[in-house]
Symmetry: C2
Subunit: 377 residues, 2 copies
C-alpha cells in the first residue's frame, strides 16, 4: 500500500529522504579501539525551532533503521517503522517537534558497520570491525547532534535497544537531555536474553556459508541467518500472541503425519526468517546482538547506582506484562533504583499480549501517557 | 559418584538391570501405520504383590529413558533420572509399590525408534520410521503390562511428556488406572512450544551431516543437534534459574570485546549441547519433538470434553510458577475442564524458580502432596 492509497495522509510526514553524516574524526569506542571515518544515516521530521529546543531523538531497536516515519517513494509498500507515532497531530507531533532518528553504528542500514568498507584495506570490515556497545552508539549520535547544531534534546525515546540508548543518554549526557523515555528496556541484559542470542549466533556459526564472517554479500549464510532471526522473532512474541495468531493450525499443504509436515506457526517463522535474510546483513545482526548482550548500565562505573545517579532529568518508563525477553521486573528494578536515588521517575506497566513487540504493536496503550509527560516538560 | 560412595544407599534400589520386552504382534499407530515387531526397554523396582494391585507406572520426558532409579554398575557416575523419588522409604516406596518405567517407542534408549533396524530392509528406519503420537507410546506400554500380567495401575506419574502419557492413560484406558498424576503438563502443546521445537528441527536440518536423517551413527550432525538441544535446554530453564546460576559472568578465558567471547551461560549451553550428542540419537529427538507437537488431548475425539469425560479416576496435577514452556495456565485449563465435568481432580501450583525442569530439580516441593494422594487411594 503506497502513500497515495494510505488512509491517513493527513497524519503522515509524507515523502522523506535518508541523510548521511560523515565524520572524519575518530570515535573512541568503549573497547579502546578507534573508529574512523564513520557515517551515520539519519532522517528528520518536522522543523527545528529558532531556540533549537524542540528536538526529539527516536532510538531504534536491534534491526531497526533511520527510516522511522513517512515514505521513501510513493510506491513503498510500507512506511517507516514507527510511522503511527510520528507525524502532524501524532504523538511525536511534527508540527511541534523536530524529530531525529539515526541508524546506530554497527548496523547495516547506512551507518558504518561490519559490512562497510574499511578504508585502510579497501575490503569490508567483516569480523575486523570493532565490537561496539550501546554507549558507543549514543556517543556517535551526540556527534550527529553537534553537526546539526543541537545542544539539548527534549527527550530520547525508544523501545528495546532504543530504551538502552535512552538510558545511556541520561547517564552519559545528563546536560543534553531534558527527559528520557525507555520502553520495554532493561538495566542489564539477563542470562536468558544472552542465551537466546547465543542460539542465534550458533545458528549462523554452524552455517558453512558464513565463512567466519567472510561470506560474499550476495551469498549470505541464509539457512543459519534465517534460523537466527527466528530465534529472535520468537523472543519478541508471547505465548498469548502466538495463540491468538496461530493456535494449533496445521499447514493445509502438509499431512499431519508427514515427518516434514508443519504447523502454521512454523511456516510463519520460516517465511519471516527467509525474507529477513534479504533485508539485513548477518554480521551486523551478530555485532548488534553482542552490543545487546554487553549492555549493563553499570559498565565502566563502580556500580549501577553510580551510573544512575548521574541522571538529572525526569524519566518515563514502560514495560509490558507479556514481555518475557526483558520482563517487567527488569524495568522495575531500574525504576526502584532511580526512586531510591530520589530521581524523578514515572513507570507504567502496560497490559498487553504482544510480548516484547508490544511497543510496536500496541502503541496506543502508552502514547497518551507519553503525550502528557511531554506536555509537562 | 558411584553407588559405594553414595550418601543414601539405604534409600536406593541398588543395582538394577534394564529389561527388554519384544513384541511380534502389530502395534496399530494413530497415523494408521503398523509397527512390528517392536521392543520396549523397561526397568522395575520393588515387588509385585499377590493381588497385583501395587503397580505404579513412571512415564519419562522427552529425552528420558527406562532407567529411573538405581545404578547399572557400581561405577556409574549417576543413578537413574528420578532416583530421589524411587526407593525404599522414598515417595515411590519400593517396599510398598512395584514401580515400572518403560522407555517410549520412538526413543533410542532400548525401545524401537528411528535408529532401530527395520527387519524388512536390514537398515535403520531413519525417516522411514512412522510418526508416533503420545497415545501410541501409551498403547505400547499397555502391551507391556499385558505381558507382565498386570491389569490395573495404582497410578501413572510423570512430568512433561510423562504428564501427557499419564493423561492419555486416563483417557484411553480408564479401567486400567486408579489415578493419574500429570506434572508440568499441558492439554495441548502451544504454538510457542511448537515454535521452539521448530527452531530445534531447523538447527538439525541445516546441518549438512544430517543428510535427511541418513547420517551414520558415528557421524551425527553434531553441530546442529547440539544447537537443537540448547534450544530445548533454554526452554526447560527460567529467567530466575539462569540468573541464580550464571548472572552475567563472562568467561574468564575470553576478552569482553572478543567477537567470539562468551558469557558463562553460553559456555554451559554449548558444553551441555555437545555432550548430549553422544547420549541421544538425533532422529529420535526429532520424532519425539514431533510427538510433543502433535499432542492434543482432543485428538481423534470430537472435543477435548469428549476425551476428558472418559477419565474415571482421580487425578492429581502440578504446575510450576516459573515454567514458561508449559505454563501453569495450560494445566489450569485442563483442571478447570475436569472440574466442570465433575471429575475428582486436585491441583497444586508450586512456587519454584526452576522453570519446566522444576519437577526434576525440586521434587521435595510436591512429593508430600503425592504421598498423601497415594495414601488416600
Amino acid at each position: 500500500m503506497g502513500l497515495d492509497q494510505g488512509i491517513d495522509v493527513e497524519q503522515s510526514v509524507g515523502i522523506v529522504k535518508t541523510e548521511y553524516a560523515h565524520f572524519e574524526t575518530e570515535l573512541k569506542l568503549e573497547s579502546g579501539r578507534l573508529l574512523s571515518p564513520f557515517t551515520l544515516a539519519y532522517e528528520t521530521y518536522g522543523r527545528l525551532n529558532n531556540e533549537r529546543s524542540n528536538v526529539i531523538l527516536v532510538a531504534h531497536a536491534w534491526t531497526g533503521d533511520a527510516h522511522a516515519a513517512g515514505w521513501h517513494t510513493p510506491d513503498d509498500r510500507k512506511p517507516g517503522w514507527w510511522d503511527n507515532m510520528i507525524g502532524p497531530g501524532c504523538l511525536l507531533d511534527t508540527e511541534r517537534y523536530f524529530v531525529i532518528c539515526s541508524n546506530v553504528i554497527g548496523s547495516c542500514k547506512g551507518s558504518t558497520g561490519p559490512a562497510s568498507i574499511n578504508p585502510r584495506s579497501g575490503q569490508p570490515y567483516n569480523l575486523t570491525f570493532p565490537v561496539v556497545m550501546v554507549r558507543d552508539m549514543v556517543r556517535a549520535q551526540a556527534r550527529l547532534l553537534d553537526r546539526l547544531g543541537i545542544n539539548q534534546l527534549l527527550t530520547v525515546i525508544g523501545g528495546s535497544m532504543g530504551a538502552m540508548q535512552a538510558l545511556e543518554w541520561g547517564i552519559i549526557y545528563p546536560d543534553r537531555v531534558r527527559s528520557i523515555i525507555p520502553i520495554a528496556g532493561t538495566g542489564k541484559t539477563s542470562p536468558m536474553a544472552i542465551a537466546l542470542n547465543a542460539l542465534a549466533r550458533t545458528a549462523v556459526f554452524n552455517d558453512p556459508l558464513w565463512k567466519k564472517g567472510n561470506y560474499r554479500p550476495e551469498h549470505p549464510p541464509a539457512d543459519g541467518f534465517a534460523l537466527a532471526r527466528a530465534v529472535g522473532h520468537i523472543s519478541f512474541l508471547s505465548d498469548a500472541s502466538m495463540q491468538l495468531k496461530f493456535e494449533r493450525r496445521f499447514s493445509a499443504r502438509d499431512g499431519l503425519f508427514d515427518f516434514f509436515g508443519k504447523f502454521e506457526v512454523e511456516r510463519y517463522l520460516e517465511y519471516n526468517g527467509r525474507s529477513f535474510v534479504d533485508r539485513f546483513d548477518t554480521n551486523s545482526f551478530l555485532y548488534l546482538a553482542k552490543a545487546l548482550d554487553l549492555y549493563d548500565v553499570a559498565w565502566d562505573f563502580d556500580s549501577s547506582d553510580e551510573a544512575l545517579t548521574r541522571i538529572e532529568c525526569p524519566s518515563l518508563w514502560f514495560a509490558f506484562t507479556s514481555d518475557w525477553l526483558y520482563p517487567p521486573n527488569q524495568t522495575e528494578e531500574v525504576v526502584a533504583d532511580l526512586k531510591r536515588l530520589n530521581k524523578p521517575v514515572t513507570y507504567h506497566l502496560i497490559e498487553s499480549d504482544y510480548g516484547h513487540d508490544s511497543f510496536l504493536v500496541e502503541p496506543e496503550k502508552f502514547t497518551p501517557k507519553v503525550a502528557a509527560f511531554l506536555d509537562r516538560l
